[in-house]
């Protein structure tokens, strides 16, 4: 079988076409590109293709197996929905950035070696930055700057790790890493930065909510889930990831609860969900890996749906803070329904897609006998319902009515949401098609009576806790300090501290070396012989204790200097001595 079309090429071609086509043509292109890419991926046979040589290594741009195909499917399906949602946009610039970004994400997923992966990795970081910049606000510019700086840092870690790895093993292969050492740790850090693992996680909640309405929807899927893919490929079964994943799951919940901006709530819930996946990767058994892939698939769909409903609200009201919103069910019932389907799916409500994917990871943890993993993931599951399942729809669509009466968003947005809502329900009711594309065959049945009942209990009593403690959850017009504090505030303090220390040294140097010492020297050399004589007289007087002669001697010196009445012989003698000393010093 010959190599099929590379999916990234289709996106690249689409991005180029945008610049020659009129608006109507552009609308067709952005919908056709993901659709064609999806069809191409369905037809791909396993193997590695698109070989090329760089730095003397054999590299391949296209590695097709079940794992890369699974991510390829969901990336293209989601891209189709996102572009349908963004159909109203006339901006060539934003669509181009989005197409290149998604194309690079597919390139990273299909890359067969570390060097190709790195190249696509960096393209993703740069193109996604434009989706934030396209918001064209001062806040967005700043957030985009921080976003790209963090990703450059992560990319450099990855590059350093790759170079060390290639140097140590002589191979550019990107498969499961077995050796734990500096190279693999650096690669792991590079991946974890993109997965938004604390402490380098705040870029996500910082930048995504500042992106454009449609850019935010698009960004949620690709950067973090490409990182999940690379972690599965390289670090399956690394136990440290269990701890990282559990921490992320809880961390995301706490910050989401503190948050006021609806899109920032959803940004934190990405971290929470990616935490589940990373935990599954750390467990590393066939079931856990399949669970992580299934969850990534389901997550991309319902998270895009949630961001679309939030995006629709932002698009119609230009507001994004819970304190400004509320009562929107009155005029946006369809958006509410679609958003709620997404919210219930993320909470892994039975009969929706989260329920047929996430429990697989928890089940895998139970099989391995990890008590703490099980407990934390159950607590986190309850917490998801709290922050994303109820809090998001409640404060946006119900709660206090702020008098906003926007209508429903444009039809193409509703259609995009309906499409994703359908997938959420479909995969919740009939998950077999999803299970068929997973890297390992799974024997998992979500709908045992007991299991379903347990899940309902967990969720409904979480809801009870939410409504009973509602007064404690009152929204405040605040932001929360996250790890971006270190480069936003801490950086400023560091700058101020450096300014104080180094400018202080500079001032001191200026005072001493540029002002004091020259003026002293100036005074001395204006009349050196008088100064030397007076000083000598003073020293002698000090040594002998006989000060009565000092005044008279000084007068004598002044008189002699004025009259220039020095014995010549003495001067000549001094000159001879001086020359003798100089010649000794230099010519010896």
């Amino acid at each position: 079988m010959t190599a099929s079309m590379h999916p990234s090429l289709i996106f690249l071609a689409g991005a180029l076409l945008l610049w020659v086509l009129p608006l109507l043509g552009r609308k067709f292109v952005i919908l056709l590109v993901p659709a064609i890419a999806f069809l191409v991926i369905t037809q791909m046979a396993p193997g590695t293709f698109y070989g090329y040589e760089l730095f003397g290594y054999d590299l391949h741009l296209l590695r097709i197996d079940k794992l890369s195909k699974a991510f390829g499917y969901v990336f293209t399906i989601n891209a189709f929905a996102c572009f349908l949602f963004a159909l109203h946009l006339k901006s060539r610039y934003e669509h181009t950035a989005a197409l290149l970004y998604i194309g690079a994400a597919l390139g990273a997923v299909f890359a067969a070696d570390l060097i190709s992966l790195y190249l696509f990795w960096e393209v993703m970081a740069i193109t996604s930055t434009f989706l934030v910049l396209a918001r064209k606000t001062e806040k967005a510019y700043r957030a985009a700057f921080r976003y790209v700086m963090v990703h450059i840092f992560g990319g450099l870690c990855l590059l350093a790790g790759i170079l060390l790895q290639v140097n140590a093993t002589g191979s550019v292969a990107f498969d499961g890493f077995s050796l734990q050492g500096l190279p693999t740790y650096l690669i792991l850090i590079g991946f974890l930065v993109n997965a938004a693992a604390p402490p380098i996680s705040a870029w996500l909640s910082d930048a995504y909510p500042e992106a454009t309405v449609t850019g935010g929807v698009i960004m949620t899927a690709y950067t973090t889930k490409t990182a999940v893919y690379t972690l599965i490929r390289g670090f399956a079964g690394w136990e440290i990831l269990i701890a990282v994943g559990c921490f992320m799951a809880i961390y995301g919940i706490i910050y989401a609860i503190l948050e006021n901006d609806m899109r920032r709530i959803l940004a934190y819930s990405i971290m929470n969900q990616v935490g589940f996946m990373i935990c599954g990767i750390g467990i590393g058994t066939a079931m856990a890996i399949s669970g992580a892939v299934a969850h990534a698939f389901a997550h991309i769909i319902y998270k895009a749906l949630l961001w679309m409903s939030a995006g629709a609200v932002l698009y119609m009201t230009s507001k994004s803070k819970c304190t400004d919103l509320g009562g929107l069910y009155k005029t946006m019932p369809l958006t509410l329904i679609f958003g709620t389907i997404g919210a219930l799916a993320i909470s892994s409500f039975p009969f929706l897609s989260g329920y047929t994917s996430k429990p697989m990871i928890i089940e895998a943890g139970i099989h391995e006998g990890f008590f703490w993993v099980w407990l934390i993931l159950e607590i986190a599951s309850a917490g998801v319902f709290l922050h994303a399942g109820i809090k998001f729809p409640y404060f946006v669509f119900f709660a206090k009515d702020n008098g906003l009466r926007p209508g429903e968003p444009p039809k193409h947005m509703l259609l995009a949401m309906a499409f994703l809502a359908f997938i959420c329900i479909f995969l919740g009711v009939y998950p077999q098609p999803l299970y068929d594309i997973l890297p390992y065959p799974v024997d998992f049945h979500a709908y045992g009576f007991e299991h379903t009942l347990n899940q309902f209990q967990l969720l409904m009593f979480s809801a009870l806790a939410f409504f009973l403690l509602l007064p404690l959850l009152k929204r405040t017009e605040t932001i929360s300090i996250d790890s971006d504090w270190f480069y936003r505030k801490g950086g400023r303090w560091f700058y101020a501290g450096c300014a104080w220390i180094f400018n202080g040294i500079n001032d001191f140097g200026d005072r001493v070396f540029a002002q004091k010492i020259p003026s002293l020297l100036n005074r001395f050399f204006s009349d050196p012989s008088r100064s030397v004589q007076k000083r000598t007289v003073q020293l002698i007087a000090g040594a002998t204790g006989n000060k009565s002669q000092v005044e008279r001697r000084n007068e004598e010196i002044d008189h002699r200097t004025k009259a220039l009445a020095y014995p010549i012989g003495g001067s000549v003698l001094l000159a001879v001595v001086f020359v003798a000393v100089m010649s000794l010093l230099y010519f010896n």
């Binding site: 706490i254 429903e408 806790a465 939410f466 996250d482």
Partner: protein
């Protein structure tokens, strides 16, 4: 924004106290109904026999959420700042 949506239809179902009351009652009934079957079926446990107790998952869900809310409330005092915190 869209001219055809300028005067959207306004739903007010959730604004009537009577409806909210109905929802509440319905919600409580569901909660009770969810726990009742636990008394009649044999439940499996993974780590400890406590898991087989009736209403275990209801308990976990409720307590987890209460703890999460309280913990985030406390952390909120430390972490929350005014919105212009980074601007100054």
């Amino acid at each position: 924004m869209d001219p055809e949506n300028k005067k959207p239809e306004v739903w007010t179902w959730f604004d009537h106290p009577r409806n909210i009351k109905r929802l509440k009652i319905g919600f409580y009934i569901i909660l009770v109904l969810l726990v009742i079957p636990d008394f009649f079926i044999h439940k499996h446990s993974n780590f400890s026999s406590v898991e087989a107790w009736p209403g275990f998952y209801a308990f976990v869900g409720f307590v987890s959420c209460v703890v999460i809310i309280l913990v985030s409330k406390v952390l909120g005092y430390v972490l929350k700042r005014k919105e212009d915190y980074y601007d100054s």
